[in-house]
């Protein structure tokens, strides 16, 4: 701020009459009074005892229930989860019993989506492939939530050198795109030799956490100086417990939104890695692997590639839609009345 003399700090400008008499008009001004019955007076600041109590989460839930976006995505996610847990309910055919007699056959009774080049039932493989994709998505999200969440919360809450170090560390990881980083990690001997769902999860977590850390840091930063946090410290709560009891619960909304969307992108990342041959091992049935396997014959038999891709896209779409619906329901701006 420049130090120029402004009317606000110029003592000479302060010399104004000490008392003002108000303005009087020479015109006639009617004195109008509304009849009392038109606007009956209410008690000052009366509590509305009629409405049912609503927590923020209950309020969000009431809002969500009415959103078609949420209903559709929630139903789809439930379906996907059930398919992943008990695939045998949905497909009676064993996806691994393949005979070359059926190689690249079209659809027929009991096999609605036809066969792969190996003669495996496409429908069964799509159903059984759900589990691996979903597991990678869920566990990666949990992993980044734990690492990114803790890092971000500590950095945002305590600030100082911890914040500086974590910010730089985040920058470094940010400089490497998720897929590129995961490719490099998956080449480590320990990873290449023991490829499984878990190696993919670890690789994705390693390069996926900075995003959640940034979001968490921002949300915590917004809340750490809130009056209710200061008030609870003045009540005798230690700073760390104030973080756990007050700051983190109030910072969850944006984190949940981003986590939901990230879950979708992690599933895509797993499929991409598998497609490049650096993700799940061939022994694990997954959409990414099936798409990769179908690639050579995409021109003759596009369905084999199409169906796992459709399943993958619908799953990812439902998580992203869920995130979108949650964002609308948990929007901090809408929360303030």
């Amino acid at each position: 701020m420049s130090e120029n003399l402004t009317p606000e700090n110029d003592p000479a400008a302060r010399v104004t009459p000490a008392s003002r008499q108000g303005k009087t008009s020479t015109r006639f001004i009617e004195h109008f009074v509304a009849p009392l019955e038109e606007t009956p007076l209410a008690a000052v600041d009366k509590v509305d005892e009629e409405a049912a109590p609503l927590s923020l989460w209950a309020d969000a839930w009431r809002n969500l229930r009415k959103q078609p976006l949420f209903i559709i995505s929630a139903l789809l996610i439930i379906l996907v989860v059930v398919v992943a847990v008990v695939p045998q309910w949905f497909a009676s055919v064993d996806p691994t019993s393949c005979t070359l007699d059926d190689s690249a056959e079209g659809a027929r009774a009991g096999h609605p989506l036809g066969f792969t080049l190996q003669g495996c039932d496409v429908y069964a493989r799509v159903i059984y492939g759900t589990r691996a994709s979903l597991m990678v998505g869920i566990f990666t999200t949990l992993g980044v939530l734990v690492i990114g969440g803790i890092m971000g919360a500590l950095a945002g809450y305590y600030g100082g050198w911890l914040d500086t170090i974590l910010a730089r560390l985040g920058d470094i990881f940010f400089a490497l795109p998720l897929i590129l980083g995961a490719i490099v990690i998956n080449q480590l001997p320990a990873f290449r030799d023991n490829r499984s769902v878990w190696t993919v999860v670890v690789a994705l977590v390693a390069f996926g956490w900075p995003q959640i850390a940034r979001i968490t840091r921002g949300a915590v930063l917004e809340n750490r100086n809130a009056d209710f946090v200061t008030a609870s410290k003045a009540l005798g709560l230690t700073p760390f417990r104030a973080l756990v009891k007050h700051v983190i619960p109030n910072s969850l909304a944006p984190i949940i939104v981003v986590a939901s969307i990230s879950l979708g992108t992690f599933i895509v990342a797993e499929a991409t890695l598998s497609f490049l041959g650096l993700g799940l091992p061939q022994s694990v049935m997954s959409w990414g692997n099936d798409i990769a396997a179908a690639q050579p014959q995409v021109r003759n038999n596009p369905g084999v590639l199409l169906w796992p891709a459709v399943a993958l896209s619908i799953t990812v779409l439902s998580f992203i839609m869920l995130g979108d619906a949650l964002r609308d329901a948990l929007d901090p701006k809408a929360r303030k009345r």
């Binding site: 730089r168 490719i183 499929a271």
Partner: protein, 308 residues
């Protein structure tokens, strides 16, 4: 402004060292003995093997190797591939292709992303807005490689509008389809970001004040809403350049583009450390420089930043 530039530049130095060290460490710890891989598993004369190790600095301790690598990176002395080509030459051939691809993708996502985002944001809740919103969700949900195959199949093979795969010299016109695929996901993000930013700024107090001054709606939108709304979008576009380079691995694979992504992918599979760290090192430099440019652009768009 000069101070700001210098400070931002200084901040990028640790990021550069950190990221290259991270990659170098990961690649260094990569399996398999590259020398053994080179010989195809056949026994090799110890003298030849030692010479090869010295050539790739594999006989040095890790830290030494890293510093030699940095030195070489700066002097563009990037070593040789296992097949004896100069890494610098290989990269020099592949890089312009990927740069062309990424620039086209960036231009595509910036232009259409901002255009659609602005229209959707100004007409929030209308048909155009809902359509664009749903379309962007679908684009984000479908993996790039699936989109790539579908577009390759439909546009390249079925309709025959473009070559399904790119020829060796990778001219601009053949890169249109791959660039489209590469930029599509980011396009969706740009649309959504622009839209959110526009609709937020539409309710800003200063926009109401601008309207109260008697400005035409057009001027209010162009002068007062647009510039303020573009600030987060510009940041995203800058950061996305790195993402595009990463995404190029998949896209270049599908369309057989002889670019950096392809090169990197092959080198990783072979365990060719010299190429991997050189390419990634250059990617990190590009990313870091792009971020610097974004910061400067940001400061230009938002005068408040310059003095922080």
């Amino acid at each position: 402004m000069v101070m700001f530039t210098i400070r931002r530049f200084l901040q990028l130095i640790p990021v550069f060292f950190g990221a290259t060290l991270l990659v170098y460490f990961l690649v260094f710890a990569t399996p398999g003995d590259p020398i053994a891989a080179l010989s195809g598993g056949k026994p090799m004369a110890p003298a030849v093997e030692a010479a090869l190790r010295a050539q790739y600095n594999l006989d040095q301790p890790f830290w030494m190797q890293y510093f030699l690598y940095l030195k070489n990176l700066v002097t563009l002395n990037l070593g040789q591939t296992f097949s004896g080509q100069e890494v610098a030459d290989v990269i020099a051939r592949a890089y312009p292709v990927t740069a062309r691809l990424a620039i086209m993708a960036l231009a595509f996502e910036a232009f259409f992303g901002i255009l659609f985002g602005v229209i959707a944001g100004l007409r929030k809740g209308k048909l155009f807005d809902s359509t664009v919103l749903v379309a962007s969700l679908v684009v984000i949900a479908v993996p790039t490689f699936v989109l790539g195959f579908v577009l390759q199949l439909v546009v390249g093979v079925k309709l025959g509008w473009a070559r399904p795969t790119v020829s060796g010299t990778a001219p601009w016109n053949e890169l249109i389809l791959p660039a489209l695929v590469l930029g599509l996901v980011s396009l969706a993000y740009v649309i959504r970001l622009t839209r959110a930013s526009i609709s937020e700024n539409m309710n800003a107090d200063y926009v109401r004040t601008a309207t109260a001054k008697g400005l035409s709606r057009r001027r209010v939108v162009v002068v007062h809403i647009l510039r303020n709304s573009l600030i987060p979008v510009v940041t995203f576009l800058g950061a996305d350049l790195g993402g595009l380079m990463g995404g190029a691995i998949v896209t270049e694979g599908i369309f057989n583009v002889p670019g950096v992504g392809n090169l990197l992918f092959q080198a990783i599979k072979k365990g060719e450390s010299a190429t991997v760290v050189a390419v990634v090192g250059i990617l990190v430099i590009v990313f870091v420089v792009a971020n610097l440019v974004v910061d400067l652009l940001y400061a230009w768009l938002d005068p408040r930043i310059r003095y922080v």
